[in-house]
Symmetry: C2
Subunit: 347 residues, 2 copies
Amino acid sequence: MKYNQVTIKDIARELGISPSTVSRALKDHPDISPETKKAVNELAEKLNYQPNIVALSLRQSKTNTIGVIIPEIVHFFFSTVISGIEDVAYSAGYNVIITQSNESLQREKTDIKALFNSRVDGMLISLSRETSSFEHIDSILAKGVPMVFFDRVYDTPNASTIIVDDLSGAKEATQHLIDQGCTRIAHLEGPPNLGITKQRLEGYLEALKENNLPVIPELIVSCPLGTIEEGKLAAEKLLAMAQPPDGIFSTNDPAAMGAMQVIKDSGLKIPKDIAVVGFSNWFFSSLMDPPLTSVDQPGFEMGQEAAKLLIRQIEVKSKENIDPTPETKVLKTRLVVRNSSLKKGKK
Amino acid sequence: MKYNQVTIKDIARELGISPSTVSRALKDHPDISPETKKAVNELAEKLNYQPNIVALSLRQSKTNTIGVIIPEIVHFFFSTVISGIEDVAYSAGYNVIITQSNESLQREKTDIKALFNSRVDGMLISLSRETSSFEHIDSILAKGVPMVFFDRVYDTPNASTIIVDDLSGAKEATQHLIDQGCTRIAHLEGPPNLGITKQRLEGYLEALKENNLPVIPELIVSCPLGTIEEGKLAAEKLLAMAQPPDGIFSTNDPAAMGAMQVIKDSGLKIPKDIAVVGFSNWFFSSLMDPPLTSVDQPGFEMGQEAAKLLIRQIEVKSKENIDPTPETKVLKTRLVVRNSSLKKGKK
DNA sequence: ATCGGAATCGCATACGTTTGCGAATATTTG
DNA sequence: CAAATATTCGCAAACGTATGCGATTCCGAT
């Protein structure tokens, strides 16, 4: 689009000097006399000169843009993360291009290529549910594009990652159920490809072991999509057992919610008969009836940290021309106790 | 960032021809012989040539990028709209840069400038709650940047808008309450600057008049932020009245939700004592207890339509070099009836 | 008056691509 | 066989900016 914006050449012509001088004057280069600088700056101000970012990007081989790939935007946790990313990116002078994989590996591949072709300075990625091979990522990584993975991470020594302590969070949640007197605790397990799924399962198992509770395989139900619907199905299955559970720890909030609905409809009471704990602390969790206990993930902070890390890597790479060593950052979770799990009342 | 991507020059050098020939060969220009085209295309394929989008943007004064300004991402409706925008933008070959105003006029101003400086080809904007003056928009509009406003629109003859039929939606919602037997219907009113607030109020009033119900000013309570907290306060105020309402139509779902909590805590029953209807049909509305009746806004579709309209305008402007005439598109709402308003049971 | 150096600035080139125009070669025509 | 035309390609400039290097000017010192 041609907006007839004033350029450095216009200023040069008007002042009868060369574009190079104008360029230098604008960046306060010592070679330029104070008078020229003054004249240039005043005219630039008067004409409302704004540097052409596209030309700058071409010249410097740097777009000041970071690309983001997330599974889906319409997801409380991820939109919170984006908010955090925006927050630091904008104050650092970076634009943010957002793409969503829609949980599809195919789409993730085209997204990553599109971002690379757009010459973004770096990428922030959270893997799709389907992603179990990584050539598409490795090939871009090999070209030296800085990348930071968050939440659903690719475990490679070549890229930075930022995660929450899913294991501890899950363990704490399970321990909380045990403290409330639960002895038969079910687990709604998440998408099998994701590391977070394994971590949360692991935390659940560790808590059981530390309390000398038996691990009952039938009580671990897979919810590969983690939807409300799957939560309902899982709960129906659990309630049909000879000995139903007295507590449920779900890999995420929607599944927990689905389970809650089925439990309530069956006439059982939450938390008296079955206590429920979710994961992620979605916006609406506090609005449920009863309000859902959940493990809070600091999404905004995760976005901030991921963006900070990426930008630092970008700047290191461009200034010192050195590949920065990847870092891993683990954020703490926080168990938010609400009525869905309080059999005994608050301590 | 220098990724040492192969350029048109590399291909030219390797083949002993000029860059211009390579360029033309790649775009199937008739001036180039079939043999040269074949050679070029094969080598390009082999070297995995990808055109440098930044150089292209500079050359063509077109970035194939559209900028989006929304009040906040962490908002079910807006994230849904974004999803719709992405959907059509990507298949049309456009990148999407997203910024959020955080409901601040100041931030909206800097966002719009930043997007302009990034030379986006067009903008999709939903106004902040604070926006009541429009110079910052007019000045950009005057430069000929295509703009489409959605949902919270700027009513000007110079830009296209895409909205939902808030008036009809509100009227239908209120009529529904009347049909359920409500005679004292309260309205939780939204942010005063927004057109949608006025439209929804208007629809509420029209429904009352058509049914010969009196307009009782005390029953119209302002919720300038539209938060859950404000909904609670409003409900407390309403319940303290000598004659509390028997129905509530809220300008949005969170306020409706806050009201529901207060009503339930006060011992009154929903919908028996007070029926409640919200607006926007947030994701969690169906999960409330009782599930909340709400006016569904087609967010995804709105995003799609807005992006389509904008892209069409961009292409018209660049090809025919003519300012396209602004259009307005109105999308239909849909009342989703749930138990929070069903005093009589489904018809 | 001459020189040296500092101060100030412009030329040329680069980033990667597109495109009008002209040049060279090949082909057809009379 | 010469001339006209068609085919195929390269040169150069352009988009807007940054920067190494050389050129010019000016000043004070000798």
